[in-house]
């Protein structure tokens, strides 16, 4: 059995996010949100063992992709893109005029992209108020944006639905949305994925709805102190053990910087069925250390761990 895990560099620091404290994010300053600096950190991560980049699609991360795409040697970087950039939507909602205003703003962006497939689906969706057509239009637009930024030869492995949308749809039992998403993303030869902070619930619902876990990427928090592992660390571990066929990627392995690297890695390498790990880093020295250790511990057989 191949126990090698996919190692991904995460983008939270590039958006000015720290789940440990906002104060920590603020103290890092604006350097990290500079796409050139962030792109260098991603490249350093790859040079030290990372296989790819997991990121939310935003103007910042698209700029990072544009910079990386100029370096041919990184063309095969595995990209795990998360859509939509929900926090930006939430933040700008009051000024845009709430959800209708945001929808209008997005419609304008889609129209100005001149991606006619997205436009036709969008227009159909608006005229017939068909949720699936609107979602399809949005996804076509996001894939188009990603490929425009990362280049046609980019290795877009998975398109994941952002945790807020996944978890809201989960709570509201919107099984049609999950099915439609899986069908559409698979049809464009990308692995459909779901980011969640309610992993056991997602697993249970997929089983109830008869959704096949094969070829599905799931990203969820996994760390030794159970930070954001809802309802509990034990339930998340049990759910993970039930689905060897899914591609589960762990994030928040450092519990947002609360844990030390050795302790964090010790926990994830011993989790059965985990297929990958995503870690964010804000400094070059941290990137080197993190991915070197991860490479050593996650790219060998279980017996050596």
């Amino acid at each position: 059995m191949n126990d090698e895990k996919v190692l991904l560099v995460g983008d939270n620091p590039f958006h000015g996010v720290s789940h440990l404290s906002q104060e920590r994010a603020t103290s890092r300053g604006e350097k990290l949100t500079n796409p050139s600096y962030a792109a260098e950190l991603v490249i350093t991560s790859v040079e030290n063992g990372a296989d790819g980049f997991m990121f939310t699609v935003s103007e910042t991360t698209l700029s990072i992709l544009r910079i990386i795409s100029r370096r041919e040697e990184y063309n095969q970087l595995q990209l795990y893109a998360i859509v939509p950039y929900t926090y930006e939507f939430v933040r700008s909602a009051p000024l845009a005029g709430g959800i209708p205003g945001l929808a209008r703003k997005l419609a304008k962006e889609i129209a100005s992209s001149r991606n006619w497939r997205a436009v036709v689906n969008g227009v159909t969706g608006i005229i017939t108020t068909t949720p699936t057509a609107l979602l399809r239009s949005y996804l076509i637009y996001e894939v188009f944006r990603l490929k425009s930024a990362a280049g046609k030869r980019a290795n877009l492995v998975s398109l994941l639905l952002h945790e807020l949308v996944t978890d809201m749809a989960l709570a509201l039992n919107m099984d049609w949305l999950f099915r439609m998403y899986i069908d559409f993303v698979s049809s464009v030869r990308i692995k459909p994925g779901f980011e969640t902070r309610n992993f056991p619930c997602l697993v249970q619902k997929f089983k109830e709805w008869g959704i096949d876990f094969n070829g599905i990427v799931m990203a969820a928090p996994f760390n030794s102190i159970g930070f954001q592992m809802c309802p509990s660390r034990e339930k998340c571990e049990e759910a993970l053990a039930e689905i060897p066929e899914a591609e589960v990627i762990a994030f928040s392995i450092l519990a947002a910087g609360y844990l030390k690297l050795p302790e964090a890695i010790e926990y994830v390498v011993n989790l059965p069925n985990l297929k990958g790990v995503a870690v964010g880093a804000s400094k070059e020295c941290h990137v080197r250390q993190t991915f070197n250790v991860l490479k050593k511990r996650c790219k060998c057989s279980g017996l050596e761990l």
Partner: protein, 329 residues
């Protein structure tokens, strides 16, 4: 198991968030959604086939909900809640913060709640954040000794990049939109507050309330100050916090962590991680789940829950004093 039948009025981000959380609570049946915007309504009708979707709050009377969540824009809280009580559509109401767009309207809603209502609650969700709960516990235990001074703040970068003289500004000002959270916490921690000095600054356009400073005093003589702005740099997410000085030490608390520094040089820091922050379903923040759970439990068990309308009226009173004091200045 007895289930509370709930309707949600207003399907913006907060309405969707509460509707989602309510739908996972085992003793809740989400029976109706009410939204004025016809496009969103049509979308919801196609999306949620088992839930009634209506255009007007009065249409909910035929559906007979036990409780209603009001998550509409602030200016409409008053007419919506008034209609729910006077038309006897439901007796249990949760409203997103703040209670109303003025002290007089908030007062009228409190009177209606007293005469017509049962359980009522306002979404000052920081009371359900583990760090602020721990801070309240420390204050109640008297660990800080005699309280000397406090500083509160509520900052965000939400309107930092908004064009000057933009017409699309939220109409209620930063204190009612964001600063109300820290006023509620100060009231929860220290009791009734009286405004002594207040200053309101317009940054984005003439008449907009973008920065507010207030100097306050409690009935027991504790003095403090509060600052609030939505034009601060590097606050991607809004942050609410308090620094409380006592004779035996200082406590700093915000959404993420609590730091207690005692006079004997002993410093203890608690992050959310240390305070048991996990909930059965995490969406938006653990405090939202706890808040909704507390409201539903109060209905089922037939008792009051805090922060109630009456408590939120105290926040409105402070906001009214700030406006009056700043105007005089």
């Amino acid at each position: 198991m007895m289930k509370v039948k709930v309707a949600v009025v207003g399907l913006g981000k907060m309405g969707l968030l509460h509707a989602s959380l309510l739908n996972v609570l085992p003793n809740v049946e989400l029976i109706a959604l009410c939204e004025k915007n016809s496009f969103i309504r049509r979308f919801c009708k196609k999306t949620f086939k088992d839930i009634n979707v209506v255009a007007n709050v009065k249409e909910l009377s035929d559906i007979d909900p036990d409780a209603i969540y009001v998550t509409t824009p602030i200016f409409s809280h008053f007419p919506v809640i008034k209609a729910i009580y006077t038309e006897e559509i439901a007796h249990n109401i949760f409203v997103e913060k703040p209670l109303a767009s003025s002290y007089t309207k908030a007062m009228e809603l409190c009177n209606l709640a007293r005469d017509q209502g049962r359980v009522n609650m306002v979404g000052y969700n920081r009371r359900f954040t583990v760090t602020f709960r721990k801070a309240k516990e420390i204050l109640d235990e008297g660990t800080l000794g005699e309280l000397v001074f406090f500083e509160g703040y509520a900052y965000s970068s939400d309107l930092l990049e908004v064009e000057v003289n933009s017409k699309s500004l939220p109409r209620d000002g930063v204190l009612r939109d964001l600063g109300c959270h820290v006023i509620d916490l100060a009231f929860w921690f220290f009791g009734e507050l009286k405004v002594e000095i207040a200053e309101i600054k317009s940054i984005i356009s003439e008449g907009s309330e973008d920065f507010v400073y207030l100097r306050i005093k409690t009935l027991e003589g504790l003095e403090g100050e509060i600052k609030s702005s939505w034009c601060m740099k590097n606050y991607r997410l809004p942050e609410i916090g308090l620094i409380i000085r006592g004779s035996k030490g200082i406590m700093k608390v915000n959404d993420d962590k609590l730091e207690l520094k005692l006079s004997n040089d002993k410093t203890v820091t608690w992050y959310r991680h240390d305070l048991g922050d996990n909930v059965p379903f995490l969406l938006g923040g653990a405090e939202y789940f706890r808040e909704d759970e507390a409201f539903i439990r109060a209905i089922l068990e037939g008792h009051n829950v805090e922060p109630s309308f009456q408590t939120a009226l105290k926040v409105e009173q402070v906001i009214a004093q700030v406006k009056e004091t700043a105007r005089k200045k």
